[in-house]
Symmetry: C2
Subunit: 203 residues, 2 copies
């Protein structure tokens, strides 16, 4: 979904020694069942959490861009439950699990920020589930667009490829392309290389 620019996570304790990693586009940060090293914060680029189901289909669980966190939940687990892949060249900062847990135990302020972040992610994920419940490709795309407009209420920035967007929406890329073509033909949207503009703001 919308890469979470939302949670800047200023609560992250600055005193923890956090190692920075550089990732090339397509590089894997961790895989499902890897032992959990800790929490990552994305400094640049975009990183996506996904799983692969038994048919080989990819399910995008989360997309974090600069400022966003990855694998919060795994602080409480022994192994990661998703794959994390860099969608663009990216840099991430690792907050080691033990150090972070210790810090959170001593710093209620940080802990509260952490909890709030989790809560917001939970809400976002529920919105996500609701979106997935829409069967019609057209309505799903329209709803997504309506929910993801930028500040002007009309522009949706495209991060990454349209194919990736299809995966986020749970559609095949063909279905997405066709839907966008139709919407464009009907004058409901306009497209540029890296954005979609709603002609009718906030339907």
């Amino acid at each position: 979904m919308k890469p979470s620019t939302a949670a800047p996570a200023e609560w992250l304790p600055p005193n923890i020694e956090a190692r920075q990693h550089s990732l090339a586009r397509g590089e894997i940060l961790f895989r499902k069942d890897d032992p959990t090293a800790g929490l990552y914060q994305v400094k640049q680029g975009q990183v996506r959490l996904s799983r692969v189901d038994h048919t080989g289909r990819e399910v995008v669980l989360h997309a974090a861009c600069a400022g966003g966190l990855i694998a919060e939940a795994s602080l409480f687990a022994q192994v990661y439950q998703c794959d994390a892949v860099a969608m663009t060249d990216a840099t991430v900062r690792l907050y080691p699990k033990d150090a972070l847990l210790a810090e959170l135990r001593q710093n209620p302020e940080a802990l509260a920020g952490f909890a709030a972040g989790l809560a917001h992610e939970l809400m976002a994920l529920r919105a996500r589930l609701e979106l997935r419940n829409i069967r019609s490709a057209r309505e799903r795309v329209e709803t997504y667009l309506a929910l993801n407009t930028g500040a002007d209420g009309r522009t949706i920035a495209l991060r990454g490829t349209a194919k990736a967007l299809a995966a986020e929406l749970g559609l095949t890329h063909e279905a997405l392309y066709r839907t966008l073509s139709t919407l464009q033909a009907e004058g409901i949207i306009a497209r540029t290389k890296d954005a979609i503009i709603l002609k009718m703001p906030s339907v």
Copy 2:
């Protein structure tokens, strides 16, 4: 999905004056856009969180049974984002938002428990999203069954009606009935009034 028996939430501060409510089956605890009163813990019965999308379709976001929590995330919001409905006769306990927030600020132990609960729910919700990504009704049901077996690895207790299960799975009730019939005819499952038994444990 599986009503979260998982998080007993012992961290809930016992000293907070928590009012108990009794709900009849079908009764509404709160609705989307109601101002948030606080957090509820289910003492008996089952309560379901859902939304209704613009086509009138119901999306089940969460199903909590005894011990489970409801509306954790809304501690950080002004209004509820879902409807909460009792699926069975139920009793719930309300932990008022302000009192609970104040308590969490002073009691890191409780806050940590709260955060851990949120994290686990996040993981559960992600598993849920993965399930929803399975297109085939049969595979979705098989996956659900495999993930929700009881202690013996073969029995799935049915809470509530099969129709309700269909809603949780994101299927029409007809599709679910047909799928179950097929599985039964193929000898993959057996059915009793309130349970499904896998003939082939843990496929």
